[in-house]
């Protein structure tokens, strides 16, 4: 039950060209900003949009092969899909929504109802079995949508921003729940999200898409440790710089120099965690090798701390406590000194 897809499609002014491979039981997340073409790729996999070129194969069977004139209609694909705002049929009850796909694929009314009732119980929806979608909470509706997609025993599960319609509180529970159900699912799963936390929590593999192109592929840990674009770096809360390594010194593209933990040579990315950046009113003495003057360009609350955007020869983001911020008088345009220990700076080949 593996998916192998190369999707080429024009969407307005956006040319989308994305390739992905998903093994059975694996969850792949397409992560990217809004308008990057992620949902378009998902619609092609579902058969709801027609690719201009490329190839979509599931277990060796071609679902889309424009060159060979092959295109399997969406209702003939062995898929299940969860839509952004669930799209539960408003005129059908919970159990009838779940039974819909089974009925459509030829089960008798009784058989479909039996299977659907089993999903109702499994999703802890027994009290809402005969409820209409409008009386369900966001989390319940999400479970119904997932059950509806899974009840037909699909080989490919497609999730389009499955958590974006939920409030922050519900999201935590539903995410954990979804993770559990995805773990039980034997087929391939493709998840589209713009939320890195969802992607990290749910996916085995990340494919980062920007402007219709894949910019980075890897496990969540790899991608978060070693972002390759500014977008990914900001998503995972890192400052990303690029330059050329000469041993343990990296000459940044803008001329500044950074001391790093491990020696290397050639083009590299340098990633710095905001928590490892220290801020001072005057130039600090002592061990830190990386000290730069900077100007405060923005201060925003970030959890328990304040996130400070810095401009200067090395653009950085620093996390400081509110007390430190008050002490440093961090107003917009204030001049500070930023320092980072070389041992806190990661460099990896570009």
């Amino acid at each position: 039950m593996s998916l192998s897809a190369h999707v080429v499609i024009q969407r307005g002014s956006l040319g989308v060209d994305v390739a992905l491979e998903v093994k059975p039981g694996e969850v792949l997340a397409l992560l990217g900003p809004n308008g990057a073409g992620k949902s378009t790729v998902l619609r092609v996999l579902a058969g709801l949009a027609r690719p201009h070129a490329g190839l979509v194969r599931l277990d060796g069977q071609s679902l889309d092969d424009p060159a060979a004139g092959i295109r399997l209609a969406p209702h003939r694909r062995p898929i299940g899909m969860v839509f952004q705002d669930h799209l539960l049929f408003p005129h059908l009850s919970t159990v009838d929504n779940i039974a819909f796909g089974l009925r459509a694929r030829g089960s008798s009314r009784a058989a479909a109802h039996t299977v659907a009732a089993r999903w109702v119980a499994r999703m802890h929806l027994s009290e809402h079995s005969s409820a209409k979608p409008r009386s369900l909470s966001g989390g319940q509706a999400q479970r119904v949508a997932l059950a509806r997609a899974l009840a037909g025993d699909p080989r490919l599960l497609l999730l389009d921003e499955p958590l974006s319609a939920l409030d922050a509180r519900t999201k935590l529970d539903v995410r954990a729940d979804l993770r559990h159900h995805l773990g039980d699912f034997a087929g391939a799963t493709v998840l589209v999200t713009h939320d890195p936390v969802d992607a990290m929590a749910l996916a085995d593999q990340l494919v980062v898409v920007e402007r219709g192109r894949v910019v980075q592929v890897g496990t969540p840990v790899e991608v978060s440790r070693r972002p390759r674009t500014d977008y990914v770096a900001r998503l995972v809360g890192l400052s990303l710089l690029s330059g050329t390594a000469h041993g343990r010194a990296v000459l940044l593209d803008n001329g500044a120099s950074v001391q790093v933990a491990e020696a290397s040579n050639g083009p590299v990315f340098v990633a710095i965690r905001p928590a490892s950046v220290g801020l001072y009113r005057s130039r600090p003495d002592g061990s830190p090798r990386n000290v730069w003057p900077a100007t405060v360009a923005g201060v925003t609350p970030y959890g328990e701390t304040l996130r400070v955007d810095l401009e200067g020869e090395v653009p950085l983001t620093a996390d400081v406590s509110p007390e430190a911020a008050a002490e440093l008088d961090l107003v917009l345009g204030a001049g500070v000194w930023a320092s980072v220990k070389a041992s806190e700076v990661a460099a990896y080949p570009a």
Binding site: A73, F89, H91
Partner: protein, 275 residues
């Protein structure tokens, strides 16, 4: 002194009904009077005491039954063929959709009597289709109850088509995508998803269609004639009774007025509450 007053007036204008300028208020009042007074006259002159007996004569009951049955059949036919046509107009990619829409909505603006003439020329005993049909099967439409139903369908179906097409355009097509990913083909999607979603629009269209069919006069009298029991509907009965028995005409008109008000009541949410 003048300046502050005019400022206050211009400020209060957008707030409420009191801000309607006289130049609009007077013609508006005339329009209301013109539209409402005739209906009030109908109520004033109604023979309330003899209403029951006027409405229970055999001719009136025949006309009433014929109107209800024929309008219902016309609505049924319109539903069976009009809803699919609305789908074609709203969803298909066929060429010339705009021309097709214009053609099928012509009866909305065509004088009904012209529709009656057109039906005669098409389906009359000497008509383009009627003549071969008559010589082959001996079936002839004009001056039968069937002709009443055909005339009403011709005039009323466009109302249903327009209403249903509007609902189809407004419906969220992503539900149809969802149905497709669940294995439903287009026929099943239409039957189990699209149709229930647009049910309010179909119902509104059917009510409108039925009311229009019930009020049909021109096409009916031209194509179906005026035979008691077979083609003399309520509206024809009103017209005839006005010469012989005005009280009966008023009584029948009251019934039709009541049906119209009921129709508006049923359509209230869709047509009147639009602000």
């Amino acid at each position: 002194m003048n300046a502050p007053v005019s400022v206050r007036q211009s400020r209060s204008q957008p707030d409420g009904a009191t801000g309607v300028p006289a130049i609009l208020l007077i013609p508006a009042a005339i329009a209301v009077a013109f539209l409402v007074l005739p209906l009030a006259a109908l109520l004033v002159r109604a023979p309330w005491s003899t209403l029951g007996s006027l409405l229970s004569t055999p001719e009136v009951r025949d006309a009433l039954r014929l109107s209800v049955v024929s309008a219902s059949l016309a609505t049924l036919i319109s539903l069976v063929v009009g809803v699919p046509l609305a789908w074609v107009l709203a969803r298909s990619q066929i060429r010339g959709r705009g021309v097709l829409r214009a053609l099928v909505t012509v009866p909305l603006v065509l004088p009904p009597v012209v529709g009656g003439v057109a039906l005669l020329l098409a389906l009359g005993r000497r008509g383009v289709l009627g003549e071969p049909l008559y010589s082959a099967t001996g079936v002839s439409f004009p001056f039968t109850t069937t002709a009443v139903v055909l005339a009403q369908t011709f005039v009323a179906m466009p109302f249903l088509i327009i209403s249903v097409e509007g609902s189809l355009r407004a419906a969220d097509r992503r539900y149809e995508d969802a149905a497709a990913t669940l294995g439903a083909g287009r026929a099943m999607t239409f039957r189990r998803v699209t149709l229930p979603l647009i049910a309010p629009g179909v119902a509104a269209g059917a009510v409108l269609c039925w009311a229009r069919a019930l009020g049909e006069f021109g096409a009916t009298i031209t194509f179906a004639g005026n035979f008691p029991g077979t083609t003399r509907t309520m509206t024809l009965q009103v017209y005839l009774a006005l010469e012989t028995d005005p009280d009966a005409a008023i009584a029948l008109s009251l019934v039709l007025l009541a049906v119209s008000i009921l129709t508006l009541g049923l359509l209230r949410d869709r047509w009147l509450m639009r602000t």
